[in-house]
């Protein structure tokens, strides 16, 4: 198994955190992982993204020009990264912030109303966990339980009060596909 993801969005949307959660969970499941952020001043007011690789084999490069998976939280990031997704790959987009219907050529596209659900839960900042939940539900890269456990490890101590709401968001995202597909 080898997965190469790019996760992208606005600075404040928690895309780095999504990536860390995924990498941490991969590590906990005994897989090889790397997490590589975009960094520096470009982040100021612009878009942010990170690359996550998860593999059963040793990972050579942590960079990725053509991901097999794109998790994308806003339109500018979609415009930037969608063309880079490998043929046969998949893209999950935040349909609450990207309003037109998106379709991919040669890629599999899933619309996730991440902000909508997050707002239903009363906190737009957890849209990222909705998205992450949806992704792992649909692709089964790591277990939901592992992801849930990673929260305490990846969130800094002073934010541990937010664990519950993040769990909730993960669950809502997750159930989006587990229920959908099982129906």
């Amino acid at each position: 198994m080898k997965k190469e993801l790019i996760i992208a969005g606005f600075g404040g949307q928690g895309v780095m955190f999504m990536g860390k959660m995924l990498a941490h969970s991969g590590m906990k499941e005994g897989l090889e992982v790397t997490w590589m952020p975009s960094y520096g001043p470009e982040m100021r007011g612009g878009t942010a993204h990170c690359t996550v690789k998860i593999s059963t084999e040793r990972i050579a490069s942590p960079f990725c020009s053509h991901p097999d998976t794109l998790l994308v939280m806003n339109r500018p990031s979609l415009e930037k990264f969608q063309p880079r997704v490998r043929a046969g790959g998949s893209m999950y987009y935040n349909s609450s912030m990207i309003e037109q219907e998106i379709s991919g050529q040669e890629i599999d596209v899933a619309a996730v109303p991440a902000n909508k659900i997050a707002e239903e839960l009363g906190n737009p900042r957890i849209a990222n966990m909705v998205m992450l939940g949806a992704y792992i539900a649909r692709e089964e890269i790591v277990d939901l339980m592992t992801i849930n456990n990673s929260l305490a490890a990846v969130l800094p101590e002073e934010k541990h009060n937010l664990i519950d709401i993040n769990l909730e968001a993960l669950k809502r995202g997750y159930s989006l596909y587990t229920s959908l597909e099982k129906s």
Binding site: P37, G40, A60, S61, P62
Partner: protein, 354 residues
């Protein structure tokens, strides 16, 4: 070794330094290594150490000089322009034979350049860091775990050679997260005492930390003595890694970040049936010239690849001595090498030398 942790390279390297007994850090902020001082400012006071943000890189390297001369395990870290400002101080450190560790998380240059991963300070790190005949022992990790492992050895090597050791990385090593395990903590008070250090000449002859030698004989002796250390490094402390070299007819040579990418290309080439291997220098000074010299009898061509316009390639050529063609492919300035372009280069070379 404990449990695996997912950590950023910069933080992991900082933690490894603390575990290796480093208790003093003097530095000045610069991207992409800011997590090192940030981590140190949190952790060092917990260990009874001192973190001090210097007024500049110039001051930082001279604080390191003072603290190293006073007998401490001490380090600094910076990135390209900041390292250039430390140059004079590093020359003094080398001349006064003071052990310390310097991290350079390189970024694209010259000038202010950019902050993306880059390897364009190779010449500076291995040859012309500053005025005078001296070198640093330079190690280039290519994974976070290796960053930790090399940092664990760096202070011992600095003490062994009484000189500066540089850990040379870039934004890839510094910013990425990978799982790491750490070695046990060393208690710095249990290290062998440094008889030459300035800590108040209690009941002994005075010690002097100095690099002024008005007598040319004395200065010449110092120069040759340093030279001997470098020869000893070449004998005793060369580090490198080989992949798929057993039957290779083309050898890619790359270090650090470029080596990670090159490995992808090598694996892809192998899948295409091309017998290509990778030699990854871990120490850049001392340079693994013998392994490359040996390989030159085996392979039909070398491909050196760097995130630069071609710097290490000179050391490869010096090792190869014209026996085998040496090709170069580089991406300077922040653009990443891709496995695809390297694969293409490999194929082209395979064609040319056949």
């Amino acid at each position: 070794m404990g449990e695996k942790k997912l950590m950023k390279g910069n933080e992991a390297i900082a933690e490894a330094a603390i575990r290796a007994g480093c208790r003093y850090f003097f530095g000045y902020p610069i991207t992409p290594q800011n997590e090192i001082p940030a981590y140190m400012s949190r952790r060092l006071p917990e260990e009874g150490g001192v973190f001090l943000q210097a007024e500049s890189e110039v001051a930082a390297s001279n604080m390191v000089y003072g603290a190293a001369g006073a007998g401490a395990r001490v380090m600094t870290s910076s990135s390209s322009p900041g390292i250039s400002l430390k140059a004079e101080g590093i020359s003094y450190i080398a001349a006064a034979e003071l052990p310390c560790v310097i991290v350079n998380m390189m970024r694209g240059g010259p000038g202010l350049g950019g902050i993306e991963p880059s390897q364009s300070d190779y010449f500076q790190a291995t040859k012309g860091m500053a005025h005078g005949n001296f070198h640093l022992l330079v190690m280039a990790p290519s994974s976070v775990q290796e960053g930790v492992d090399l940092m664990s050895q760096a202070f011992d090597l600095a003490d062994k050679y009484r000189g500066p050791v540089m850990l040379l990385g870039d934004g890839m090593i510094g910013q990425m997260m990978e799982p790491v395990e750490f070695p046990e903590k060393i208690d710095p008070t249990e290290l062998p005492p440094k008889e030459w250090a300035t800590d108040g000449a209690r009941g002994r002859e005075k010690n002097v930390i100095n690099s002024l030698y008005l007598d040319p004989d004395v200065l010449e002796n110092l120069n040759w003595k340093l030279q001997e250390k470098y020869e000893q490094m070449q004998r005793e402390d060369v580090k490198y890694e080989e992949y798929h070299m057993e039957d290779a007819v083309v050898a890619v040579i790359a270090y650090g970040t470029a080596a990670r990418i090159a490995l992808d290309a090598v694996q892809a080439a192998r899948e295409d049936g091309i017998r290509v291997g990778l030699i990854r220098p871990i120490t850049l000074f001392p340079f693994p010239e013998q392994v490359i010299a040996r390989a030159s009898a085996q392979v039909d061509a070398f491909l050196t690849t760097e995130l630069s316009t071609g710097q290490m390639v000179e050391d490869v050529r010096l090792a190869v001595k014209g026996r085998t063609p040496v090709f170069f492919h580089g991406r300077p300035g922040g653009n990443m090498l891709t496995p695809e372009e390297l694969l293409e280069e490999i194929k082209k070379i395979r064609g040319e030398v056949q």
